[in-house]
């Protein structure tokens, strides 16, 4: 299988879906002529033209709202937030319109829209540019949240998200855009709500999403090599819908859990997972469910400290050893 970057895998997903369905269009700041701030949409404007790939002014609230309106009448907008951090200026459109309009219409309407872009820290851009709002959005029934950790997942999940008839928020990661993974040449999709066991293990379960899953894989290696502990890594892939069954299967096997996320700890995704596990697998647990999150401060700029602020393999290993 060819090795593809996360970026290219996404790019291919867009191209394939644009070709497949004439209702699909991409919209966002600098996505067209500039090829995207992070080059995720490179070449697509040239190939598909201004009708399908559209540069927008810096008016996130209006163009997310435009997307909702277009989706109501059957279009399939794929809207880029140059950074998910910028979604707060468009938050109302996402929470009240994309998220609630189906309910408030008694099911008469639906909003088949994708909002996508990177949501991560670790790139020296400071607090305003390093938000990870997956927990905020997942709080609202009506929205779906996807956080792919690999190029393979990114492509398969993105294609599914675009075909989904509800609003899907896809959180990418600038630190992964340049990383390569095997991606099949033939078409494939990955369903939302199916976690991926990225590494099998018997002693301990890491539950993670997005780039944290990759960090867990590194931690699992260290644990195996240095401590003889075999950790399982469950990559959630989607936060809502959530594959609770996969989490509980892993817990039943290992009896020990560390939930890892780049999210901030307070009411983060890890809180939900930990609370769910202790409720549904109380008797399976040999130790409390522990959590590793971003250190609890706004994202710091300073380079070495910023690296420490996100979960590192070392911090994860240390946490794992507390219960192993």
């Amino acid at each position: 299988m060819p090795l593809l970057t996360y970026r290219k895998a996404l790019n291919d997903a867009f191209a394939e879906e644009i070709l497949r369905d004439e209702n699909v269009f991409l919209m966002g700041e600098e996505v067209a002529e500039y090829n995207g701030a992070y080059k995720v949409t490179e070449g697509l404007w040239k190939r598909f033209g201004s009708k399908r790939v559209i540069d927008a002014p810096i008016s996130e609230a209006a163009f997310v709202g435009l997307g909702v309106g277009a989706a109501l009448v059957g279009m399939r907008p794929v809207i880029e937030m140059m950074f998910w951090s910028f979604v707060y200026v468009a938050f109302d459109q996402l929470m009240n319109n994309a998220g609630c309009v189906r309910y408030m219409s008694g099911g008469l309407a639906n909003v088949p829209m994708v909002i996508r872009g990177p949501a991560n820290g670790g790139t020296n851009v400071g607090a305003t540019h390093s938000h990870t709002p997956e927990n905020l959005l997942a709080n609202l029934p009506g929205l779906k949240i996807v956080c792919p950790a690999t190029a393979y997942d990114a492509k398969g999940l993105m294609k599914t998200a675009i075909r989904d008839n509800d609003t899907v928020c896809v959180m990418e990661n600038t630190l992964l855009y340049g990383e390569k993974w095997e991606v099949p040449e033939e078409e494939y999709t990955i369903p939302l709500g199916v976690a991926d066991v990225k590494r099998e293990g018997s002693d301990l379960s890491f539950i993670a999403h997005g780039r944290a899953a990759i960090t867990c894989l590194k931690a699992a290696e260290i644990l195996e090599e240095q401590h003889g502990i075999r950790a399982e890594v469950v990559d959630l892939r989607s936060i809502r819908p959530l594959d609770e069954a996969a989490i509980l299967r892993s817990v039943a096997k290992t009896h020990r859990v560390v939930v890892v996320e780049e999210n901030k700890p307070f009411c983060g995704v890890g809180a939900q997972i930990a609370s769910m596990i202790q409720e549904k697998a109380f008797d399976d647990l040999d130790a409390p469910v522990l959590r590793v999150s971003a250190l609890d401060a706004p994202a710091i700029y300073s380079m070495p400290l910023e690296k420490m602020q996100l979960p590192t393999p070392e911090r994860i290993v240390k946490k794992a050893l507390e219960i192993c």
């Binding site: 008016s59 309106g69 109501l72 408030m104 008694g106 639906n110 989904d164 509800d166 199916v194």
Partner: protein
Amino acid sequence: MTSSSEEKNGAAELGAKVNYSATPVNQSLTAEDKILFLRQMYRIRRFEQASLKSYNQGKLGGFLHLYIGQESIAVATASLMGKHDHIITAYRDHGHALAVGMGMNECMAELFGKRTGCSKGKGGSMHYFAPDKNFWGGHGIVGGQTPMGMGIAFAMKYRGHKGSCFAFLGDGAVNQGVFSESLNIAALWEIPVIFVIENNRYSMGTSLARSSSIKGSLAARAEGYNIDWELCNGADFYQTRAVLGAALERAHEQNKPSVLEVSTYRHYGHSVADANAKKYRTEAEIEEYKQFHDPLRVWQKTLEDEGVLTEEMATSIDREAKAEAVAAVEFADDSDFPDPSEIFQDVYWEVDNKTEAASTGRYFFGDGAPA
């Protein structure tokens, strides 16, 4: 644009001088058409009064924003809409709903929170919808509907339809940032959206002068975005219809947006819960509008003057509207509330439609949630 900003800002008063009944869009109207418009205004008015009565009887709760005094605008709009023309508005949405053809029954039942309501009792007064009639709500967050309206119009153009979307907002709503953002995008991309500001002079208890710094009019702000704009007097049905019609033509023929500001007045408070309705407006002002600028009265008078309508006809139209409203209350009364299990329906399309996508992962959490 043909006329200058100053001229236009004075246009609403000058309105009377132009014979709007002779504009192409109005000239072709038959007597039946004209009577139908009156009937629709009566239907809205009687529906609103019936809902107010039901509210006072404790049959419904929450907010109830009455459209009485503004009926001409929704009726004129609906009368112009073709297959690919859409409409979206804020929470004061009953008039638009009835004008586009929604039934009183499902509208009243919605207020009562019944499963026979247009939104199955899930949306309430502020959140009516009828996609089959190109009516896209009913939205509770001030200004939030404006970019959605633009998106609907965008889709019409994308698909090559001769279509548009009328996006309504209030005089207070123009100060939500997303509306300004939408003006820029609509103009930049030539989107056939028609923003209609229903200027009833107050946003809750705040007069226009206390909410907005303007140069002559709210619509004149469109000038800075190079968007065509017009003012009109909502109490003059012909004028309102002519101005809306011209904007619709601009949308259909040139894919161009418009901003229209229609001067109007709500006879009641902001909502039924508005205990101050008579504090921030003088009795005299309210009376003045009811007596001399009530679009329903004015239109009825116009039709009588034209010899199209007799007093008896008007009385019977009114009687029918009242009867329909009474029947709607009965219908709503007799309908059932939704079943508690329905709380978890209409959240996700994929779940409701039991698709493959719904078979993977958990969608709902906590008590009572389906696995």
